[in-house]
């Protein structure tokens, strides 16, 4: 069965965290987030795809919560792509962490590495090559342009 778009809410240390998951498209509504009135974190880990109308709906949501302290975390590549393509997708939000995709040039295995922006800001590098957990070769390289994952600052 196809995954459905949903938003789940929890609280962590006094901050509301919104877990967005599923495909984001023209039918996706962010009313829970739009009603936020204090700082918030949006966790994008569960997002599968996002289309152009989904981007528009999200940007409209961001306009409604302009002025709040907003952080994005666990952004998968589909979200990172939009963060790079559409500046208003991020607006004034701080990106805390992103998933960097790797592809094994030996066996085509894919994996993702969670990278904290705080670590990058302190000088830690995104590994250019990783060991493939499937074939064991040091052949996993970043799938895409490394610079697009550096979202600190």
């Amino acid at each position: 069965m196809a995954a459905k778009f949903q938003i789940r809410t929890t609280e962590e240390n006094g901050t509301v965290v919104y877990y967005v998951s599923g495909p984001i498209d023209e039918e996706s509504r962010f009313s829970e987030i739009e009603q936020a009135h204090e700082r918030l974190i949006v966790d994008f880990r569960g997002v599968l795809t996002i289309n152009s109308c989904g981007v528009r709906n999200w940007v409209n949501c961001m306009k409604k919560i302009r002025g709040l302290e907003i952080s994005f975390r666990q952004c998968p590549p589909a979200i990172v792509k939009q963060l790079n393509l559409v500046p208003s997708f991020r607006a004034n939000a701080k990106v805390l962490s992103v998933y960097v995709p790797y592809l094994c040039f030996q066996c085509d295995h894919e994996s993702r590495l969670l990278v904290e922006m705080e670590d990058l800001a302190k000088g830690k590098e995104i590994p250019a090559v990783r060991k493939c957990e499937l074939c064991g070769q040091d052949e996993m390289e970043i799938d895409g342009d490394e610079s697009q994952f550096k979202m600190y600052g």
């Binding site: 289309n51 152009s52 528009r56 393509l85 894919e110």
Partner: protein, 243 residues
């Protein structure tokens, strides 16, 4: 040996070769450029030479990356069926479990299909026939034709509508707005966001549009395999037939 043609924004069907970013290519397209190849080989590039040979043809042949003989062809007449079709395509092409690749393919297919459904057909007064806010069933004669195929080198996708309304000006203005006006990229329109073709162009290696005005539009794309793809190697081609 003939000299490389110079770009004349007032002329049609001229080939422009160089090493560009997609943003720079967007400027050329917005200025009226119809055939843009970004390549390290300049005018000697195989694909650019292929384009050059097509420029004066009345019915330009497909580019070599258009895997038409080997691809699957599916008819789509309902907006609600598109997710199923896209998922099936990723399975057929053997990339379903390859997330990075399948995400790109899904994005390209989704944007091209929704463009076809919601922008290709108009009422007599010129307004859009189908509204994006609801599920749409196209008339039989309006059904889209979606083609896709995979090879070791990459993925081919094309979507054909029966409206024939896409213009170079539409594409150029959308690209220019999205690449050069970051504060006004999005069109807040019930029919769409104005981002779709920009998102597709950003993802693909080769992008070709064949418009038969008032009859049909075919948008074709090639996504080079990730071991081959390079962000500076790409092409844009716009052919208007019967012009």
């Amino acid at each position: 040996m003939s000299a490389a043609p110079k770009f004349d924004p007032n002329a049609n069907d001229q080939l422009i070769c160089g090493l560009f970013s997609k943003k720079e290519a967007a400027q050329l397209i917005a200025d009226g450029g119809t055939h843009i190849h970004s390549t390290t080989e300049g005018y000697r590039d195989e694909m650019a030479r292929f384009t050059n040979a097509l420029l004066n043809e009345k019915n330009p042949q497909p580019h070599p990356w258009q895997l038409l003989p080997n691809c699957r062809e599916v008819s789509l007449a309902s907006s609600g069926e598109r997710y199923k079709l896209i998922k099936r395509a990723t399975v057929d092409m053997g990339i379903f479990s390859r997330r990075g690749y399948s995400e790109k393919v899904e994005c390209v297919m989704e944007e091209l299909i929704t463009n076809g459904i919601f922008h290709a057909y108009v009422n007599a007064d010129g307004s859009n026939k189908y509204r994006r806010e609801s599920s749409v069933k196209l008339e039989d004669k309006e059904a889209l034709v979606v083609r896709y195929g995979a090879s070791q080198e990459g993925i081919f996708i094309s979507v054909e509508d029966k409206g024939g309304r896409l213009t170079l000006e539409d594409i150029g203005s959308a690209f220019y707005r999205c690449y050069y006006n970051p504060d006004n990229q999005i069109v807040d329109d019930e029919q769409g966001s104005g981002l779709g073709l920009y998102m597709v162009f950003d993802l693909v290696t080769h992008f070709r549009v064949d418009v038969f005005p008032g009859q049909r539009t075919v948008v074709s794309c090639w996504i080079a395999g990730r071991r081959i793809a390079h962000p500076s190697i790409f092409s844009f081609n716009f052919f208007k037939r019967g012009a």
